[in-house]
């Protein structure tokens, strides 16, 4: 199944795109999507412990299952204000 991965801040610079489409295994978790992307872009590994995730613009957990066409957004540590 395909998911859209959205990236922010330095993650966006590392991947070189605001969003990318990726084919992932049926029943994959958000964490699996992350690990697949981190295998492709090793610099993402720095964020292993600090990353947060949102699925379809809602806060989610890395162990949440994602579905066909879902938007999975990876959030590095934030710095608003």
């Amino acid at each position: 199944m395909r998911v859209t991965v959205r990236l922010f801040a330095r993650l966006r610079d590392i991947v070189g795109a605001e969003e990318v489409e990726r084919e992932v295994a049926p029943g994959a978790t958000a964490g699996a999507v992350w690990r697949q992307l981190a295998a492709e872009f090793p610099a993402l590994g720095d964020y292993e412990r600090s990353i947060s995730v949102a699925v379809n613009a809602d806060y989610a957990r890395m162990d949440a299952a994602v579905g066909e066409g879902d938007e999975v957004a990876f959030l590095p540590p934030v710095s608003g204000g």
Partner: protein
Amino acid sequence: MPEPPATLYTDLMTPLLAIGPEPLGLEPLVAALAEGGSAGVEGAVVGFLGLVRNHNAGRRVRYLEYQAHEPLALKAFERIAAEVGGRWPGARLALHHRVGRLEIGETSVAIAAASAHRAEAYAACRYAIERVKQIAPIWKREFFEGGDVWIEGATADPDDRTAREHAERVACA
């Protein structure tokens, strides 16, 4: 020409919570709070503006660029407003954050909190900015003399109770 429907005016009213590229000010937030409240109940409004500083961590800052996951940021603001209403019953919040390139001295975030008495309004306003910094999916890239860097702060987990308790302590100090 016929009068436009009343709903149009409603749409044009300043929302309590917003994120976008438009310049910010405190007065629209105060007006939005007044529109949404019952007149006379609230005796205090406290406002906060966050401004782009020309120095940070020993660097001379030239300008900032803010990026956000805007739909999720709005949900974070809703969550913060709900937390404020739970912690200080009757307190209400207006919160706007800007995105895009901001020059030195411009306003990046504007917050106003209203409540019956000043103590709750001060606390709610302080709590709100602490929570924005903890959980709102917003990032600033600092362009300084000699380079640029993405600033990375808190880990954006809205359910982290330690972070929330910290914000409450700071707000009530």
